[in-house]
Subunit: 330 residues, 2 copies
Amino acid sequence: MSETTLDVLGIGNAIVDVLAHADEGFLVENELAKGAMTLIDAERSERLYDRMGPGIEVSGGSAANTMAGIAAFGGRAGFIGKLRDDQLGRVFAHDIRAAGVAFETPLAADGPSTARCLILVTPDAQRTMSTYLGACVELGPDEIDEAAVASAAITYLEGYLWDPPAAKEAFRKAHRIAHDNGRRVALTLSDPFCVDRHRDEFRALVGDHIDILFANEAEIVSLYQAADFDAALQDVRGHCAIAALTRGPKGSAIVADGEVHVIDAQPVAHVVDTTGAGDLYAGGFLYGLARGFDLARCARLGGLAAAEVIGHMGARPEADLVRLAAAELD
Amino acid sequence: MSETTLDVLGIGNAIVDVLAHADEGFLVENELAKGAMTLIDAERSERLYDRMGPGIEVSGGSAANTMAGIAAFGGRAGFIGKLRDDQLGRVFAHDIRAAGVAFETPLAADGPSTARCLILVTPDAQRTMSTYLGACVELGPDEIDEAAVASAAITYLEGYLWDPPAAKEAFRKAHRIAHDNGRRVALTLSDPFCVDRHRDEFRALVGDHIDILFANEAEIVSLYQAADFDAALQDVRGHCAIAALTRGPKGSAIVADGEVHVIDAQPVAHVVDTTGAGDLYAGGFLYGLARGFDLARCARLGGLAAAEVIGHMGARPEADLVRLAAAELD
């Protein structure tokens, strides 16, 4: 097996987030499912944007956030995702490269505009997301750079890729290349509604092709249609090699063939915006795995990165994670 | 004199800010004048952006920030400024309207792209700005809506308008209409380098056409080439009817014909980013004037709005200024 040039290659929807504060009444009036990610078309996106308060634009996208987290720890991360060559596309491309992530996917010269996720942050710091996929629907197997996948120790895929039509094929191509080259494949289930949309396929995928699974409580319970978290934990044990299950302030549980760890959450003084908590948990965890740390230490790094990102608006780390990790782990 | 439909109409450069953290070394390497606003062309803007860290995009522009502040207090604010009809232009237009500011300037279908200000925030919370004026160079007398100016109790102009070529004429048209209709005209000097570029014209303007002047310490000292702040204060007294002079953590001094007030700054727990401090001070002050408050109370409202905006990234208010003002003033 050849040397790796990347610790983790993430493949996902390339999205610019538009974050605004909103109250609960706004969610009700606009029939938004609180805490969830809902797909919307261009027209609904325009209408919702018109009604929203002033926003801030920040690069986002689940797998892209995770890769930014890995790079912030000092890991070698790459990203594949589809943008349109427009102003927001160039913002995304700038930001991911400036975060230290290798990004080579060509920007589309025409077609739908760069994807946008309208994120409403309520006073309880919960985020409710409405995504217009835009250029992401153009992601297909052609965008999967075989050499990049083959050179990454872990290929990380987001469940959200099951939504745009051609991305599923890209997803399958990526896990084939990874396994053919003796690499590992990780998946995040992304969102409980996403699991609802694709449950049977996801369950087969987890059992057959995934080495490392990330899910929060609602997602893993939905995947197995389990009675509760513990039942889902029993279901996933033995179904894939490593599962990292996050539970917000209750911390996380790591389930592997021979071991189970229950790790407390990192305390957070003031939760501002939970956007990106799961993404950054995965970033810290995967960075730890790539460094060969034990599973409990990987989980602590995940918790550390999640705690940082929920302390401010936006889903990419702002603090120096290398320094935070050194302080935590030494 | 007819009834007003606006408390304040602001005219200024319509700019989207791109904020990123940077260390002092980055400013030195890129020959950036710390704390200042420097005009750059499209090519230099691209080069600097390529080197900057990941950013967040937030609507900005000095006078526009001030109008957002007035609206956040519950005042009736309008804005005139030139955007290109591109993604960032539509972001700016959305944000200013969502902030409750009337904005009717048509977006340009072609020409330079929407203006962008690259703002580097150093660990001491100082901001260093590099502005590509883009579509702002298209602002001219045609954009000045005579009815809007005539209907506003105060027309507020930013000194930065002296930079793009045609805006100066727009500026002159606006103060003529305002005075012909018995309204007041306010000006902010914007930036000490801007004052350096246009000192003689600014001095004549302040003496002849401005009723309310906003300046910080460096700007007012530069305007009169005074030995120190107190000397500049003596120079401005009698030169224009009201001058509001800000001094950062030292508070502000209000100089009017018959009175001088020295008002302490509002304490701030943790200064994150000083971008917009002067803009929001002007917003609070003008809101107070429009409500007929005395000058000391206007200054306290200015200090309150400035204190709010330096507590977070970005130059538009995030907190509920109506509530803050009620708590402060009652």
